[in-house]
């Protein structure tokens, strides 16, 4: 057992810490050349729902000379018990402490998990600073979307792998095995590899990216949690990247170019996944599912995958075709439909390059209401660049119009009990997007906008929800942080910050104090507009998209000009290997 029974009996969900799931790989740890632990800085259920986990775990374990194990961030109840009982964080597979691994690979999916990275190292008894980790300690690396600005964690991490694992993680392991007894030699050698960034050997780094996904590695092995996870279903990644360049969206830029997998390959893979996992639901995963070029073919194939297998289609644009499809999938059960206009007015939607018109939204709603749907989710952001009070008013007006659309449909043609869930999140400027130059709205501004919107919503059919403005400020400070930001993260960790992405755990006062102690101000990172010629802390990371392109997109935003999507016209963003 990884932890004593008496400890497991005291925590909320002991199955988080036991391992032994279907798909867990058991190998002879003494028969491999490198032991790797995939570290996920969030709780088990969240990590196990992350679709990249199977890719990495399967990719690494496909090698006979590597054993890849897993560790997740222990929830606070477990952390307290571990400390009380002098227990170290161990892997789920062998129950060995993380400190005996050769390489620890942290997956960084969002900035608010940074304190958990430090905590996981600390709970393993591993020194946080590379200088204190000689050859006997594991090499610490990190990858994932948040590493497109690696600097905030650069003080703690030996190397970053920036880009997509399929493209070059193997080469890193080969180099490790060849230089097993010299960490510095290994780091010097890999710093020349694509996607590898060693902070001690500062250089520009090109994102590692497989040219096409037809031949890229597909996982053979799938983990099935013993504990209800966030998504209990098989996730099929149908394409990577996005053809639309919404100017706030980091994923839309860092995963360029858009690369699709062909339907035949996907459907075969889906069958394999369902057989291996036993799931009865498959979800088509991508940034914008309706943009898949052979969507009709793929979705009808996916509906034929087997008796009692259901299909779920997140991030689908609502139109006549998708409604007909969702109607067939859902049968009598109609869950909510989601629209993400992101901004209330057409002016602001052009600025952010979200090409969704009011007519499209209202027509989509009308068709949905006629089709029997009665629940609609509307996602907006507040605090966007160039936003005015009129744009906030327009959010409330758009929601009102949706309600009107419902009541303009004759009673006998519509369902009962309209519910419009309006959610407004706070915009956070992210690196590698055109809005990386913009100032972020302050907590006071954001709170005022929330208050204003709340006042404007009167219909009892509209349920308004919003997020904490202060968490988005910390997220913004970390997202656009530099190397000094690491000291604030360290202070926050020491002051007890954990699971900052969880609203019930987030504590703004800790972060405020942490930035103070580090001699830094969050305002400097958040509220400052960057000049185009300023050297940004993440400029040395090349995602493929040119900085000139981001500048010209920012200028087009200022002028309120939309940019066509990649299929309608190429805007020459610079993405390497683009064949759209």
């Amino acid at each position: 057992m990884n932890y004593p029974h008496s400890v497991l009996m005291r925590v909320q969900k002991p199955a988080r810490y036991t391992g032994g799931e279907t798909g867990a790989v058991m190998k002879d740890k003494n028969a491999v050349d490198a032991r790797f632990c995939l570290c996920f800085p969030d709780v088990y259920e969240v990590g196990m729902s992350w679709s990249g986990l199977d890719v990495l775990y399967s990719l690494l374990n496909a090698r006979g000379d590597v054993y890849c194990e897993r560790a997740f961030a222990p929830w606070t109840d477990m952390e307290a018990l571990m400390k009380e009982n002098g227990l170290k964080l161990v892997t789920l597979e062998t129950g060995n402490p993380l400190s005996v691994m050769d390489i620890l690979g942290f997956s960084l999916n969002h900035e608010l998990s940074y304190t958990n990275v430090l905590n996981m190292l600390d709970l393993s008894g591993i020194p946080l600073l590379p200088a204190e980790r000689g050859d006997d300690w594991p090499v610490i690396c990190a990858g994932g979307p948040a590493t497109c600005n690696p600097e905030p964690l650069a003080d703690f991490v030996d190397f970053f792998y920036i880009g997509e694992a399929e493209a070059g993680l193997d080469a890193v392991l080969d180099a490790y095995i060849a230089n097993k007894n010299g960490k510095e030699r290994f780091l010097a050698e890999i710093s020349a590899l694509p996607g590898v960034y060693v902070p001690r050997h500062f250089k520009t780094v090109k994102k590692a990216v497989p040219d096409n996904l037809d031949t890229a590695f597909l996982p053979e092995n799938f983990l099935v949690p013993n504990l209800g996870s966030v998504h209990d279903r098989a996730a099929l990644e149908i394409f990577r990247g996005c053809i639309r360049g919404c100017r706030f969206c980091q994923a839309g830029y860092i995963y360029r170019p858009c690369r699709e997998r062909p339907p035949e390959l996907l459907l075969n893979h889906a069958k394999h996944m369902l057989a291996c996992t036993g799931y009865d639901e498959i979800s088509l995963l991508s940034l914008s599912t309706g943009d898949y070029s052979r969507f009709a073919e793929l979705s009808s194939g996916a509906m034929e995958l087997g008796e009692n297998i259901s299909l779920s289609l997140p991030s689908l644009r609502v139109d006549a075709f998708s409604l007909e499809l969702m109607g067939r999938i859902a049968g009598e059960r109609k869950s909510g439909l989601t629209f993400a206009p992101e901004a209330g007015s057409q002016r602001l939607r052009d600025i952010i390059n979200k090409n969704l018109t009011e007519e499209e939204i209202l027509e989509g709603c009308r068709l949905a209401f006629l089709g029997g749907w009665t629940r609609v989710k509307l996602y907006f952001m507040i605090g966007l660049p160039f936003e005015t009070d009129e744009d906030i008013t327009a959010i409330a007006e758009l929601a009102d119009k949706v309600v009107d659309v419902f009541y303009n449909i004759p009673k006998y043609q519509r369902g009962k009990g309209l519910q419009v869930n309006l959610s407004a999140s706070c915009f956070v400027p992210k690196p590698h997007t055109p809005f990386q130059f913009a100032a972020q709205a302050s907590i006071e501004e954001l709170t005022e906008k929330q208050r204003m919107l709340k006042r404007l919503i009167r219909s009892k059919h509209i349920k308004f929800s919003y997020h904490n403005a202060d968490a988005s400020i910390v997220e913004g400070a970390l997202a656009r942080g530099d190397r000094r930001t690491g000291q604030a993260i360290l202070q926050a960790f020491k002051l007890g910050a954990r699971f900052d992405g969880w609203s019930e755990m987030f504590n703004y006062d800790i972060w405020h104090e942490a930035f103070d102690k580090a001699g830094l101000s969050m305002d400097y990172y958040c509220q400052r507009e960057r000049a185009y010629d300023e050297i940004l802390p993440w400029d040395h990371v090349q995602t493929g998209v040119d900085k000139h392109f981001l500048i010209s997109e920012m200028e087009r935003a200022r002028k309120g000009l939309a940019t066509p999507n990649c299929r309608d016209a190429c805007s020459n963003c610079g993405a390497a290997g683009c064949s759209i």
Binding site: M1, H5, S6, E21, N226, G278
Partner: protein, 224 residues
């Protein structure tokens, strides 16, 4: 909940005995139900599905097992849409179960047979009692318990005043070997005694404080 097949028998009923130990003892009941569904699908066995908007495989369990308690011979009823040799079911499930779950035996049921949950009467538990870092000898407590005519405990239900209940009649056999107690107790719909409750009572008889975290429980047998 489940109607007996009214028309033709287009499904087949099986009773499975399985072990739930090791890491699997930390799997909760709800998660276990989902896990069984997935394990059956992975094994390529066709379940019988319920009707309605949200069809799900028909699987029922004789009695839920608390998280952290080992089960050496747990019982579940499984309805299948195809006839499979019971030994084959055992073999196929064992190749698809995760660590800690082992199918032991299986038999086909006639369609009129009552469910395992309805038939269940008793359960045999082993309890390894620990209290405040000691392993107390439980012989005295067991003798004392057996000599009594009534053993009242107070049961608290939310929003209601505590109620006195006699558990003596729910205990059929009880013996101790050092700190290991074996108890045959009522289990199922017509009377149920949790081993945790019994262990608590036995400890209070000898004036020690049971440690709920280090004491280990094992359900050895379910008896109809």
């Amino acid at each position: 909940m489940i109607k007996e097949a009214a028309t033709i028998n287009n499904f087949f009923r099986y009773r499975l005995t399985y072990e739930k130990t090791g890491v699997a003892r930390y799997i909760g009941h709800l998660d276990l139900q989902n896990l069984f569904q997935r394990a059956i699908r992975r094994a390529g066995i066709k379940s019988r599905y319920s009707e309605g908007f949200n069809p799900h495989p028909i699987i029922s369990f004789a009695s839920p097992l608390s998280v952290g308690t080992d089960g050496l011979a747990e019982i579940s009823d499984i309805d299948l849409a195809e006839r499979i040799a019971p030994d084959d079911i055992v073999g196929r499930l064992n190749s698809s179960f995760p660590s800690g779950l082992t199918a032991l035996s299986c038999s086909e049921l006639s369609s009129g047979e009552k469910s395992a949950a309805a038939l269940l009467r008793r359960a045999l538990y082993g309890m390894t009692i620990r209290a405040d870092g000691i392993e107390p000898d439980m012989n005295g407590a067991v003798r004392d318990f057996l000599s009594r005519e009534n053993v009242f405990i107070s049961v608290r239900r939310e929003g209601q005043p505590p109620k006195e209940t006699d558990i003596r009649g729910l205990v059929y056999e009880l013996r101790a070997d050092g700190n290991v107690v074996e108890a045959l107790v009522a289990c199922g719909g017509s009377g149920n005694l949790k081993p945790q409750v019994l262990a608590d009572v036995l400890c209070s008889i000898t004036n020690i404080k049971l440690c709920g975290f280090t004491t280990e429980y094992c359900r050895r047998e379910l008896i109809f």
